[in-house]
Amino acid sequence: MSPEFSQYIPIGMLIVIAIAFSAGLLVMSTLMGQKGRRPAIKDTAYECGMLPITPAHGRFSVKFYVVAMLFVLFDIEVVFLYPWAVVFKSLLKDPQTGPLIFTSMLTFIGILFVGFIYALKKGAFDWGTRAKQ
């Protein structure tokens, strides 16, 4: 087994134990918990004491989806930035790779920033008052 992989064995072990710990808490609660009556009213969704009206899963504003999509965009940007940031310092010292690593990522961020300005001007982040007008 390669050392790159075997250093993660304890991590895997920890995942198993963490699952056991949190599942154990719930199982213990099931065993020790009261076995009270379950009248129908106890099983209804809580709505401040009133009987629930209309389906629970209603419709959501499209704004939530727009924001989620923009997040995916920026998250991918961040994923690309990680390896760049780690080698930035060492590659900057090298006169051959220095200008390349500097300009290429600035261009990348610049293009994304233009997109960000576009989304901002389009009102993707305007919630509430301005959107209503």
Partner: protein
């Protein structure tokens, strides 16, 4: 991988579990005591000496409650959500170095590891909200997702700004680079980035938002959403969420300490050790509690605007500024 190594890891894992459990229990007490003091009342005093056994009483009470899975809920996902919120917090503690030697596993991608597991949190709250089939829960879930994703971007951008200066994702090495007096801590390294204190404030704000703490506690806005995504959870199901919240605060504060406040390094150049790490970490934890009882809850729209319109452009600016600074200084 030798047997002794496995044994050491096993002991460490048990230690992490005890650490998480004790922290969750006693941070709740600290929070309640703190809240009391900020509002000029004593907080819990009845159970044990000055309320010191309150967490035990709470734990026993939660364990003895009837566990109810609502018939309308998606039973499998409903049960899975508490596990998914607890496991990542414990996993993160495996790679967080408490001192030079006290670390579960010193891996090279430690930083990414912590943030990757931290991101699972969002899904757990989403699952609990969706599976509950309750209006409060689903509204809370939608809010939490849009809040957490919005604050994750400036947080990661700030971390990348740090990474450019440190050149490593190994948490151990990041702390070692901050050895010496307190002006060697990343927070005061203005030569790396003149906006470092701003970076720290962005990171701290995002950490509050990611752990769903006031003033950004949209997950559990009591006055609007009852208990938010956890409304339908009873007994230990709710207890696990509660524990996980405090475990996440500990992880967030530990990361703040490691990245900005020099980890286990002593501020005076000598006598570094785990005690300094714990001191700094609990000072940050206290600040988190302090902030909660000082600031009122923000409005949801303002919350998203703060992230998208202020924090993201600002963190992008610091990133570019750092790149330019490093280029100019090294050229």
């Amino acid at each position: 991988m030798s047997l002794s190594e496995l044994l050491r890891m096993l002991v460490y894992v048990v230690g992490v579990m005890a650490f998480v459990g004790l922290n969750a229990a006693y941070l709740v007490l600290a929070e309640r005591k703190g809240a009391g003091r900020f509002q000029r009342r004593p907080g819990p005093t009845e159970v044990g000496y000055a309320g010191w056994l309150q967490p035990v009483a709470d734990g026993v009470k939660l364990l003895c409650k009837q566990l109810i899975v609502p018939p309308g809920a998606d039973a499998a996902l409903f049960r899975l959500a508490p596990l998914l919120v607890m496991i990542p917090a414990m996993m993160s503690l495996a790679v967080i170095p408490f001192s030079e030697t006290l670390v579960g596993r010193n891996i090279n991608v430690g930083l990414v590891f912590v943030f990757a597991f931290g991101a699972i949190n969002v899904m757990a709250v989403m699952l609990s909200g969706w599976a509950s089939r309750n209006k409060y829960a689903i509204i809370s879930a939608a809010r939490v997702v849009s809040q957490d994703v919005a604050y994750e971007i400036p947080m990661l951008l700030v971390v990348i700004t740090m990474l450019m200066a440190t050149g490593t994702m190994n948490l151990h090495e990041i702390v070692q680079q901050q050895a010496g007096w307190f002006w060697h801590w990343n927070l005061f390294r203005l030569d790396l980035n003149p906006l470092m204190p701003v970076t720290f404030i962005i990171f701290f704000t995002c950490m509050l938002a990611e752990t769903n703490r006031a003033p950004f506690d949209m997950a559990e806005a009591e006055s609007e959403l009852v208990a938010g995504a956890f409304t339908e959870y009873a007994g230990m199901g709710f207890g696990v969420f509660f524990m996980a919240e405090y475990a996440n605060i500990v992880v967030g504060c530990a990361m703040t300490t490691l990245l900005f406040l020099g980890g286990w390094q002593s501020p005076f150049g000598v006598g570094s050790g785990v005690i300094w790490f714990l001191l700094k970490m609990y000072a940050v934890v206290f600040t988190v509690i302090w902030v909660r009882w000082t600031f009122p809850r923000t409005q949801f729209y303002n919350l998203l605007n703060l992230s998208w319109k202020i924090l993201i452009p600002l963190s992008l600016f610091t990133l570019i500024l750092t790149a330019v600074m490093m280029k100019v200084l090294r050229a």
